[in-house]
Point group: C2
Chain length 377, copies 2
Amino acid sequence: MSNTFSFRLIASDGAARRGEFTTPHGAVQTPAFMPVGTQATVKGLAPEAVRLTGAEIVLGNTYHLMLRPGAERIAALGGLHKFMNWPHAILTDSGGFQVMSLSELRKLSEQGVTFRSHLDGAMVELTPERAIEIQALLGADISMQLDECLKLPAAREEIARAMQLSLRWAERSKRAFESVCGGRALFGIVQGGDDLALRGESAQALNRIGFDGYAIGGLAVGEPQEVMLKIVAETAPMLPEARPRYLMGVGTPHDLLEAVARGIDMFDCVLPTRNGRHGMAFSRYGAINLSNARHANDARPLDEQSRHPVARTYSRAYLHHLTKANEILGQVLLSTVNLAYYQELMAGMREAIAGRRFADFRDETMAGWERGDIPAL
Amino acid sequence: MSNTFSFRLIASDGAARRGEFTTPHGAVQTPAFMPVGTQATVKGLAPEAVRLTGAEIVLGNTYHLMLRPGAERIAALGGLHKFMNWPHAILTDSGGFQVMSLSELRKLSEQGVTFRSHLDGAMVELTPERAIEIQALLGADISMQLDECLKLPAAREEIARAMQLSLRWAERSKRAFESVCGGRALFGIVQGGDDLALRGESAQALNRIGFDGYAIGGLAVGEPQEVMLKIVAETAPMLPEARPRYLMGVGTPHDLLEAVARGIDMFDCVLPTRNGRHGMAFSRYGAINLSNARHANDARPLDEQSRHPVARTYSRAYLHHLTKANEILGQVLLSTVNLAYYQELMAGMREAIAGRRFADFRDETMAGWERGDIPAL
């Protein structure tokens, strides 16, 4: 197991890339999907169960963990890997996105952002330096710079201001990181909203600073999918080929397929677990709403072709029952099924890119989703 | 695997008994604890996880399952074992207890009980014959007769009336069962509240009817533990030695230890899962409240000596964090730990009885609980 971060491009097919990065906690095959472990747990799944879905890396949320149980506490307990019993790779976000979306009374300045904790009302300051320090305390294999993420639509001058601030924070993040890195990686985040010129300026400036990987932030924040994919398609080629590219907070299975086609290597999203907790399953034949009464007498499993036993074992009738009865096990099983489907989709993309048949894979996958779920009995 | 129900007494030590019963879905070692799978799921655990705690049999609730998803539906889907993916033994209750505790507008008559469903307000009738029919549709390995269960304290004439009604229902249950049994077992239920004469009358009459096993019902319904244990101590010897004895709805680890000492072979209770969902762990050193701040920095596991990996693996600090953050995984892990502790306690009792050192085991176990949990760091 390598003790430093490195990325290797294994194959490409059009803009789609098949690669691998190594971390002090194991290698990760790309394109990769990272389940979100917001509060030091991928909601509903024990870490072994997360691993059995095929995940090689999970995401931890700095905002949540700094507030509870606290970064210093996790460090004293041996770091986030040990705390949550996940011995594989971890990427942490910088906390910036949740400060914007969850906290009240936030005050943004050149120095950083001060906000009121949504848990106990305490005033907390997050600066680029503190975000790096927290992520080092957590022991993240990949840390993210603090950035300012706007909701779209937004005025161009506002987008430009936030992008420029994020660049200055990128510089400070890099400097702070250099003193604590210890084999770990730091990613910069391209901002610039839906403005391609600003995206280009951001990408170029980050490239000059130099990071181990590059994220595209500020997307999937309210804009149509076609806008998001256009920004991705234009931004990805501006990023260094020899570094992984991470599209933050995205997305649906269709988003993933289209973004990989445009050169993205990494994703994270709460959809598989959040929708699973609300009775919705993702599958090769599109979304399935298990609360629908049509499943009540259906002895068939969700997906006989799935690589994961949960999707092959439990009947739709049982999953429907658990969903209607609001049983924890229903939430757990559907979250598991969804994470497994996301991983199976990523594995399919990786194989297709390596075999230079990504376009066919994309067509077949889309055809499955368009076919839709099997009709009721 | 035997296709009929039978019970074999393997050893005894004082009043405590070590035995085994066989069902069409496997053998069960006694004294046995049955996790409660109210709505066709032991709350929070996949069936493999239930099995890994050591359970050989679970309990299903007729009241819940008849209302949702419905007994005929479960039968059409292949029975409860298949529905919930639990290939081992299942005992179902008769539904009577929950009719009394959960439904509104219930009307009791000689014929049976009519009640309003707590789910959709529909009026439903449950008779001794229908309770047997439902349990046959579910495919229970062990069915229970319908009885009337009173809360204590209650007037003697009321207890006598309910006990006599339960006896007449026992007769009707037996007749109904004889036409549908197919290798399955039917247990009668001794009633009589806290009145030993009535308990004796009930036990004798049930014995004359003849059942595969005998339950003691109507306890753990509000009376002090010493009253319950006195009734158990006096009632157990009135039951046939060659049949299993089941104390319904009991209880705490201490209740189990004391009831085994008085000749009980089987138990069910929601405490391990319910308390687990509320941050409480059972252990060899007594109850542990994981929401207590004293665990926040404690890297030690719940119980290094546990036979179950969950109790040995996750730190108290992590379980505290999950409990405070109200994460599903906290509920799942603590439910697992508690079910595993209950099974470890039962296994310890079985070994002690077989080795004729039950009194020592009881003293040692009590001493552990009295010692209490390890102090905070």
